[in-house]
């Protein structure tokens, strides 16, 4: 089971510059652990204890995970996870 994780510019110091990494997990929490195993330091930039950090948004197939179960959001093979800093509009 492979899930594509798109990493924002600011976190690529942890992925050797890679924009996209592949990882596995049945939930977003498991996915974060799997990413952490291969790219140490990433998880703590995104997750603070049991929740996502305030200024980080994570989307599974374009939907914000804060409305789909947070770190318990279920994942399936072929899902695309996008991590982005929160930005303003208007």
């Amino acid at each position: 089971m492979a899930i594509e994780v798109r990493v924002p510019t600011i976190l690529r110091t942890h992925t050797g510059g890679a924009k996209v990494v592949s990882a596995e997990g049945a939930t977003l929490r498991e996915l974060m652990e799997d990413v952490e195993d291969t790219h140490a330091g990433v998880r703590d930039r995104i997750v603070d204890g049991a929740a996502l950090r305030r200024f980080v948004n994570v989307y599974v197939n374009d939907e914000d995970v804060r409305f789909t179960g947070g770190l318990d959001t279920p994942l399936s093979d072929g899902d695309v996870v996008v991590i982005l800093p929160a930005v303003a509009g208007g």
């Binding site: 939907e63 800093p85 208007g90």
Partner: protein, 315 residues
């Protein structure tokens, strides 16, 4: 319809059905045409409300200088209100916005302070806060934290939608300052709590997200996640595809952020069809396409448009 002045004509916009794009007889889409406001965007409501409330609170004197960080529409709306009410306006606007926006601001008499492209609107907010510190006599209405920005949608946009579409099941709008969704969301939570409130936010190119620390991100002070049921991130390709589809099938010439909102609205429609449930989905047309003609979104292939929009603040 007759009004005493242009400012009196803000709001009460049409809600039009989309007979061709609606996927089924009982799953229908409705467009709230906010481009029919005086400066052509939904922001006229917020700009007028913020200025009027500041006047009532005694914060503004004739000739006063207003300051606002904006990627375009709020600035243009404020420039019109400021001109009619006798204030000077200074807008802090990111460099990577379309030239039409700068031209319109200048026409209504606003002064523009450019902010760096990298970091997008977050940088505009930072620069504006610095300027506000340097000029304590200027008044920053600050759309991201000004309650009047959400309240006007609670008082007008929400009730307008409910009056025109009493059986509304979903409302889909853009998420920038969060003002529209916070006001409309609160109105429907109180009056029709079963209505699903859906947010669509633009996903820009990498430049806009900048290189600064993740702890320096920005969430508008107005934002209350409990007023939203789902939130979607829509990239430029889907936004442009839907903007063009809206024009080709229904004749509506909208800005690119409306394409992003329509994309999320159509996803809700598809879910309703699959679930066999009837749905009346209202979505916000934030503005017309005029200000974005130079971005390349309306010509060439989708690949061309996507390439042209890279690095631009297209919503």
């Amino acid at each position: 319809m007759r009004f005493d002045s242009l400012l009196d004509s803000v709001g009460r916009t049409p809600l039009v059905g989309l007979p061709t794009l609606s996927p089924a007889r009982d799953v229908r889409l409705w467009a709230k045409l906010e481009d029919r406001n005086p400066t052509g965007s939904v922001k006229d409501r917020a700009a007028l409300a913020m200025v009027s409330r500041a006047e009532t609170a005694g914060l503004l004197r004739p000739g006063c200088t207003l300051l606002e960080p904006t990627s375009g529409n709020t600035g243009i709306a404020l420039a019109m209100v400021a001109r009619l009410r006798g204030y000077r306006l200074v807008c802090v606007m990111p460099e990577n916005t379309s030239p039409e926006r700068r031209q319109l601001l200048a026409m209504w008499g606003a002064e523009i302070v450019p902010s760096p492209a990298a970091g997008g609107s977050n940088e505009a907010v930072r620069v504006a806060k610095e300027l506000a510190g340097d000029h304590p006599d200027w008044v920053m209405l600050y759309q991201y934290g000004n309650a009047a920005n959400a309240d006007v949608h609670y008082e007008t946009t929400g009730p307008e939608i409910l009056a025109d579409l009493p059986d509304v099941t979903h409302i889909v709008a853009g998420l920038g300052t969060t003002g529209t969704l916070m006001g409309v969301g609160r109105y429907f939570r109180e009056h029709r709590p079963q209505v699903r409130i859906v947010a669509a936010e633009p996903r820009y190119g990498e430049l806009v997200y900048g290189l600064r620390n993740l702890d320096e991100g920005f969430v508008p002070e107005l934002y209350d996640a409990s007023l939203v049921d789902a939130r979607f991130s829509v990239g430029p390709r889907d936004a442009v595809r839907r903007t063009r589809e809206l024009l080709e099938t229904e004749g509506i010439f909208a800005g690119i952020s409306t394409g992003a909102i329509l994309h999320a609205a159509l996803a809700q429609a598809t879910r309703a069809v699959r679930a066999g449930e009837p749905a009346d989905i209202a979505f916000v047309v934030c503005d017309g396409g005029w200000k974005y003609l130079s971005t390349g979104a309306y010509e060439g292939t989708l690949d061309d448009a996507e390439a042209s929009l890279e690095g631009q603040l297209w919503a």
